[in-house]
Symmetry: D2
Subunit: 389 residues, 4 copies
């Protein structure tokens, strides 16, 4: 039976240095307590594209912001659209109300409606009021285009795949690369997909930087990376893409990729502040060399699970702790988002190995050894002094 | 066989005066040349709600901005969200690129994914590149919640209903009231649904107001009206809702309604200018008494079909006529949108007759005679001088 | 000595009925506890315009959101721009941080820089850190164009007028009409200026509507009204402007007006929620007949003084009460903003009497008796049945 | 007499390689034909701060988008706010109308009102209608905080400095570093200020990439760089800031900086498209290591001077060439903005030499030799293999 390639080593594991804040235990979005991730991977068929039949290189990824019934007990959230060439669902209501009331699902572009409908299938029996006492539910789905490798017109992701991703959601280590919604994605001319990373942020609760008064928060990021062109690639800042030979097949003539970035934190932030975090994911993206090209839908959703918002409040309001914007802690959280986003994207690239998809289209795994060699010898090149330092 | 009630007379036909700009021939969005509208109405079953079975009071409405293949030849557009409590599809890309590339479909909230998927079904065979040469398509779907009358959890609108609405799209008079997506909608405590109106706007092409140099444009509006509470209703400005007795059943305790407003014009405007038009739809809405309550998703999409934008340009760009913002013509177009929106909403209310839906829930038709009597005698009441003038 | 005309009676005082929520004690923005308002009025010179000399018909109005040092102890806030044809200061930072750190000053368009600089003059000695320990201050100034009556190029409002408005700020009744920043403003073809109104909003603290558990909040609005054309005017909804004869001088050919709307509340809302309130001010504006014409800058700022945000927090954050969006109380607050905005604008029109300004330009006071007569007899006219009911 | 330090060599001149698009002739914003830049530099006094007296390390920079009277003949424009902690003027109207009608002035935060008023002084005699025929003018001023080196409370920049910057505006090479508004600015722990760069973008007019049909456009960027912390600095991507020793004085404990980025092009784009360019300036900023910290106001304005918009159109509209978004040319322009922004910021850092300001505060020039040495030897360090490659 055809299988996706095994995951390779993560960026940090092959030696890339990420100076800055320390990562969390798993260096994953799941380091934010309560966040879980599940994947359904579809990987079958070879050869010529027969729309509706395959080959299939796609899937579905679920990021669950917090335990329990999210519709009854929502989390604060914000969205940010760096480049709106994309077809997600759920962004408008999240923008207005500043909250998420379902898990975040990721899939391919043409599958968004079926995945959204599958999520409604999942939610209706668990929430009998939806659509009866006239409330409805804002399902949240992000997407990238995997049509170069996958029979995207076949729309192979439906309710079963949604249920499986949701029910398989776990904490701890997160599978990356050629998995879930990332199965058919490409990035910077190579194979892309799912990547994740996290940062631990120590915030001093008082105005003096007294570690005995510090509290620990985490910023975690998960990306569905499907953007960019080889020439742009920067690894830990170094513009290696400029020097790398293109993969055998060459690149597509146009950059039609995209990225969805999911930002999680357990710091007590409101929606306006989460939007500030969401914008910084775009800065982490830029560090990897992206220019957010015209055809690249670059979408961010950020949430906190530090507190919950009831569907049917029994009180007028609540006493809720909110971090001050001008407390130094906010800056550290912003930095944590930039750094975790950059590393999450690189993890997607380093972990994902070569996939051959429909019509024999290949997406090569990033040539890690070449990248590392380039980085070792980059000094002179960066100064226009030839290729050795 | 159960049938929707027959349409009643429009606001202007029963005598309401709308001073201001003159309406177009049909006083409908279809007065904008090239715009067509189609409805699929589902109206069956009575009695107790059996989710998945019925009773069904719902449907689907298609507004087609221009003839031909919209994916190949798009129209400039803009969206405006007055209150984002809603679950549409397609708004993010329209915001970024300033264009529509599919018809606008309207339906109920939980049906959005199935209608979007039905629209993809419709588009794929007509556009073989979608999803293969890695482009995809931004389907555009708006919604309101018809769960008070309809088995909304049953999600009865699918590809067949989408195809039928698209293929039935016509110019000329537009069916209003209990039809298409409006079948199960309520407004201001009474039966709501689909309404439309238009305004003719004469724009002087030079800087002198010389009628021999004038050009005629049209602003047309179609609404899916499902918002508000009785107390708020203003007819031609007069706050009749304050004096009307509530319908037998009384109102729902909370306002969970919404409105989608579709604005069309044939004036040569770009996306930024169309957003200015879109915002004025919110002002027409306000004239009817709406306060855009928390639970009311108030969404606007505005488009021009004065020019088209190719999917695959063979040139770098185009010589395109654009109206100047500071030409007096723009103000007249803004006024045309406010006025047509107000009248379109009132048409939905005046035309829609009583519907009994699931669990015997009733939405009464607006008591037109009472409204007219109140308006005749309103003078004194408006001055706090008792109920007769 | 030349004096501004005496204020006339407010809309409610001449008999206009405003069904809906009850007003606060003074029916003014100052009904929100802690809010104060001050005006400096400049009214001198007659005859031909001599730029730099006069005639002068202008001034400055200060709305102070809360007592004490606002820079040290800020208030949550939001801004909303319905139509951005205007030249205010301070909106960008308020948008990002969701707070105000100075009073809100209103003046004429060309005076914004001098008023802003005067406000800096006022603040620097009271805040010795500003600009030294590298923090600076976001002064907040709104404006409308009073150039039809006033020597606007002369920029006659400077530090003295700013200090005087700030030091004269008081609670209780607020002078309206031809006063402060409103001195030279016109509205709907007649004399406009400052207007204010308020609504009391009872919010049930629990989920049952038990009045013994209710808490009282207030929404207050102050407007600088300088917009619109006579034909558009709606009083209590009735389109009297359509039937009123134009004032002797006729209208300017183009609508170049604007409006600034200041919304205050003591309900515990965050910046995102205050933006929702701010948008509803635009709906109150629409009820008066405005179409937010191209040249009309329509700007809103909304704040709550229910809690304060420290400049130098000694804690990471705070336990803060926030009203839930889906608590029914929010809807009542939204309604309170719509209603108070409509009435505030009408108060500006009813109170402001005729002013003759530069070059003999006249702005007539609204002909109140004619308006009332039209309203008494409007019924038939609204139905196209002639002018008597 | 005290003088600002002489400019040092630009980033490219000391050997930094910038793979990607080629720069224009002067590698400056003035490579966009018609754009001119002028500076007024104030540099006097030493020793202890005496507010109102000095020491003075500040100034004013003017970017003039196009020749002639901009108020009569505007340019299309857009603004983008990455982080709104700042106090500019003019952004709201630019957002609504998509145009600039004055030059862009840059100065320090507390000087914005005086500079704005000085710009009005400059414009009034040149535009006799402003404020009389009831039109007014939207002056555009950006700012950063130079209070660490400069007597910012003294507000030393007024009409004279504004006139001088405007009248001194020239094409060709642009003075960078310690000049104009950049005189007192710091960046990444070192001396910052003014920087500029440009990219040439070849756009194929037809759909085939036939160079004989190509047209040449330019994207130019000028920055006022005053942001960031040393640890973050990335030069050509390499995170040298992590390895550099802090300057003698150490850094301020908090990042209170900001950046204004001015993007110019001669490509025929409308306001919506220019906003897409403006967002990419934020990506260039991110490449230098910025995380857009809380206190950093990160503001962008982008304009095209490919066509003009008349104040008083004599025609309804115009036939105007607009580049298609989905033409490959747009992507190249986006890339040009990212690259030019990154290089402009590095130019500010490389060119600006050490300045000692008020109270003996020092801002050291970037230690260029150390930076180059670090880059030469970075390879191993980037891989965590110690400090030699």
């Amino acid at each position: 039976m055809l299988k996706p390639p095994r995951p390779r080593r993560r960026a940090r594991e092959v030696g890339i240095d990420f100076p800055g804040l320390p990562p969390g235990q798993h260096n994953a979005i799941t380091d934010v307590p309560g966040v879980t991730v599940g994947h359904t991977t579809l990987f079958s068929g070879e050869g010529k594209l027969v729309p509706g039949s395959g080959p299939i290189r796609t899937g579905c990824t679920a990021v669950v912001p917090a335990p329990g019934n999210l519709f009854e007990s929502k989390v604060p959230a914000a969205v940010y659209v760096l480049n709106g060439f994309g077809k997600p669902m759920g962004f408008d209501q999240a923008r207005e109300l500043g909250e998420l009331e379902t898990p975040i699902l990721l899939t391919n572009t043409l599958n968004v409606p079926r995945v959204a409908d599958g999520l409604i299938d999942y939610l209706l029996p668990r929430n009998e009021d939806i659509g009866v006492r006239t409330s409805s539910v804002n399902v949240f789905v992000g997407e990238c285009n995997d049509g170069h490798l996958n029979d995207m017109r076949g729309r192979h992701v439906g309710p079963d795949e949604v249920f499986s991703a949701l029910e398989g959601a776990r904490g701890g280590s997160v599978p990356e690369g050629v998995v879930g919604a990332g199965t058919g994605m490409r990035c910077m001319g190579y194979k892309g997909g799912i990547g994740t990373a996290s940062r631990r942020v120590q915030v001093f609760s008082g105005d003096r930087q007294d570690p005995t008064e510090a509290r620990d928060f985490t910023t975690g990021v998960l990306v569905l990376a499907n953007f960019g062109r080889l020439k742009q690639l920067r690894v830990a800042g170094v513009p290696v893409g400029h020097y790398l030979a293109p993969p055998g097949e060459g690149e597509e003539p146009e950059d039609k990729g995209s990225i969805v970035m999911v930002v999680a934190t357990d710091a007590p932030l409101d929606s306006r502040q989460l939007k500030r975090l969401a914008r910084r994911a775009g800065m982490g993206l830029a560090r990897t060399g992206s220019t957010a090209s015209h055809g690249s839908g670059d979408f961010v959703v950020a949430f906190s699970n530090a507190y919950r918002i009831p569907q049917r409040p029994s009180e007028m309001g609540v006493q809720r702790e909110i971090l001050y914007d001008n407390h130094p802690g906010l800056n550290r959280l912003l930095t944590g988002v930039v750094e975790a986003t950059e590393e999450a994207i690189l993890n997607a690239l380093f972990v994902a190995d070569t996939v051959v998809g429909r019509d024999g289209h290949r997406a090569e795994g990033l040539p890690v050894d070449e990248v590392l060699a380039l980085m070792r010898s980059c000094g002179g090149a960066l100064l226009g002094e030839g290729s050795n330092s």
